[in-house]
């Protein structure tokens, strides 16, 4: 029984990691708390649903396109709107993204309606050592984790990735090295949006999605980001898995209604006790 909950928690945790990594990257590099993140996840999910259900395209073709659309969307938002206020105090950037979130969410409701929708898939279940899991959840989790790892690799080894890290470490020095700061900011935000889209596609496979869920997704991203430390990709993975398991165990011991609160209370505790996250140092990847 407990092992079932832990496995479920780990599976959800993989998704959470993918959900939070973009948020964490944006927070760490741009110093912006992106309140828009939840809506971007929902947007990814709806693009996926629309492509599969309305256009009848296969899932593996739709999902990458949905993520790419979100990348472009994120790049445009950062380049056009956020870059203008990026040096302002956080209250300004946070409120701005909150305003954008209200707009985007309203548009989603208007275009896709507020009815919960989900992709009906049937890939069967697998059973291992008395633990039953649906294949689709394993698949969604694997894709999410692989994407997160790819992002980690890119940040460490690609030229763009090093540029992002350099901007994060010292914006002024990076500018002197010939890095185009506005472009890198926009790329980072675009990557954040891409990851949000990927998480959205995976979510659409597993849970029914409504535009109202953007707040829930945003809350999870907050918790994981604080748990794992800002802008740290391994931190996001660990934070996501920890949150998944803790929520699973919280459901088991305290009941379903407390599951979310357990996450938030844990976050309050971490924020007060270790403000740089469980992963410690103010990470440089």
């Amino acid at each position: 029984m407990i092992s079932q909950y832990i496995v479920n928690g780990l599976l959800t945790g993989g998704l959470y990691a993918c959900l939070a990594v973009g948020f964490s990257l944006v927070w760490g590099v741009l110093n912006v708390v992106n309140m828009l993140h939840g809506s971007m996840v929902v947007l990814g999910a709806y693009f996926c649903l629309y492509g599969v259900q309305q256009l009848g395209l296969p899932l593996y073709a739709v999902a990458p396109v949905a993520c790419l659309i979100l990348f472009v969307f994120g790049y445009a938002i950062q380049r056009g709107l956020l870059n203008r206020v990026i040096t302002q105090p956080i209250l300004i950037t946070l409120t701005l993204t909150f305003g954008l979130d209200l707009i985007v969410n309203n548009l989603i409701i208007h275009v896709f309606s507020a009815t919960p929708q989900s992709l009906v898939t049937n890939f069967g279940t697998v059973e291992f050592a008395g633990v039953r899991v649906p294949v689709v959840r394993v698949g969604g989790m694997l894709v999410a984790v692989i994407l997160t790892l790819v992002l980690y690799w890119l940040l460490r080894h690609s030229k763009i990735g090093r540029a992002i890290i350099a901007v994060r470490m010292d914006r002024h020095a990076a500018a002197l090295m010939g890095i185009r700061i506005p472009h890198i900011y926009a790329l980072t935000f675009g990557i954040g949006a891409f990851m949000a889209g990927a998480a959205g596609c995976a979510m659409a496979l597993i849970y029914p999605v409504t535009p109202m869920m953007s707040g829930v997704f945003l809350g999870k991203a907050f918790v994981i980001c604080v748990l794992g430390g800002l802008g740290s990709v391994p931190g996001a993975i660990i934070g996501g898995l920890v949150l998944g398991v803790v929520e699973g165990l919280g459901t088991l011991t305290l009941g379903q209604q407390w599951a979310t609160s357990v996450g938030f209370i844990m976050m309050m505790a971490v924020i007060v006790l270790f403000p740089t996250g469980i992963m410690g140092k103010k990470g440089y990847e």
Partner: protein
């Protein structure tokens, strides 16, 4: 406390406004009393937030935590048989304790961590209110004894009560504006380390400001709870409101005496207009208002000078120190 002519004029103007507001209660009909009560409520929340957010420059997003705590404290006290007015004072006391409890750990944090910690407090409290059925009635909500009297009398009574509280919040702001305490808060906004170097007990000042905000917020919540006679978690701990309040203050001008009033009034008018004509688009249009305020009025109405108004609007980047010194302390 420093009192010069400009300040005395400001206070006189404020007192006059409130006196007019109180006298209007005799002639207004129930709908306008309702609007007036909402306005007074939002203005007192704005004034309360302005102490921490405006004068001290901390991005506190927990205004609604205080409001909700006050609403529930007052509501539970009243449901247990405490008389209404006493329940409001009980709620203010609970607000004080809660602000201490929340402020002491959170005020050690800076910037984003502080902002996120304060937002998280709203989420945690809402979940607690949702789940602690025995105390709060859970998601079903909590019924309070209804204030006796005809609808007109009740409306007028709560209008005057809310107006009185807003007046208190106004006076508190005015006092903070002109005393050593407020001076210290402004120093903290500009540079916390420098403030502590010139002998300001930074932590004490910060907690003090937080407590003032908490008490005013909780009292507002308690009066609101008595007025509507029914509270539920998603109403008392509304996450949108917790960001709307700073937007209102920003619209009017942060760290000023009349900024919260101007911001609150213009925001309510805008919002009523949006609700009346674009019901399906209201959240999107509110978002648009928020974005517009940030791009075109980052220093608020009171931060504008005549020169700003005649110059090209978009180019007016923090001409006044109000936001630029907050920027420095936050970065």
């Amino acid at each position: 406390m420093i009192i010069d002519r400009a300040f005395a004029l400001k206070i006189a103007f404020g007192v006059l406004l409130f006196a007019c507001g109180a006298m209007l209660s005799a002639v207004l009909d129930n709908y306008y009393l309702q609007v007036g009560t909402t306005l007074a409520m939002l203005c007192s929340l704005c004034w309360a937030w302005n102490i921490v957010g405006g004068y001290m420059g901390y991005p506190a997003l927990c205004m609604i935590s205080f409001f909700g705590i006050g609403a529930y404290a007052g509501g539970i006290a009243q449901a247990a048989g405490v008389p209404e007015t006493l329940a409001w004072f009980v709620a203010a006391g609970v607000g004080l304790l809660f602000a201490l409890l929340l402020g002491v750990p959170l005020l050690r944090l800076k910037g984003h961590y502080f902002a996120v910690g304060t937002i998280a407090s709203v989420e945690v409290l809402r979940e607690v209110a949702n789940n602690w059925d025995q105390l709060t009635g859970g998601a079903i909500g909590l019924n309070l004894p209804i204030h006796a009297g005809s609808p007109d009398e009740v409306g007028r009574y709560f209008y005057l009560a809310m107006l009185g509280l807003a007046f208190i919040a106004f006076l508190v702001t005015a006092i903070v504006d002109r005393t050593q305490f407020g001076f210290g808060l402004r120093c903290i906004r500009q540079n916390e380390q420098a403030a502590s170097m010139v002998g300001i007990n930074v932590f004490k000042y910060k907690v003090g400001a937080f407590v003032l905000t908490g008490v005013l917020g909780a009292a507002t919540g308690a009066i609101y709870a008595s007025m509507v006679a029914f509270i539920e978690p998603k109403d008392a701990f509304n996450i949108i409101m917790t960001i709307e309040i700073p937007v209102m203050v920003m619209l009017g001008g942060m760290g000023t005496i009349f900024g919260p009033l101007i911001g609150g009034v213009s925001y309510v008018i805008l919002k009523e207009f949006v609700w009346a004509y674009f019901i399906n688009w209201h959240s999107g249009l509110l978002g648009l208002i928020v974005v517009t305020v940030i791009y075109f009025l980052p220093v608020g109405v009171l931060g504008l000078t005549w020169r700003d108004i005649f110059r090209k609007f978009g180019a007016s980047k923090s001409t006044r120190p109000v936001t630029s010194d907050i920027a420095r302390s936050a970065s």
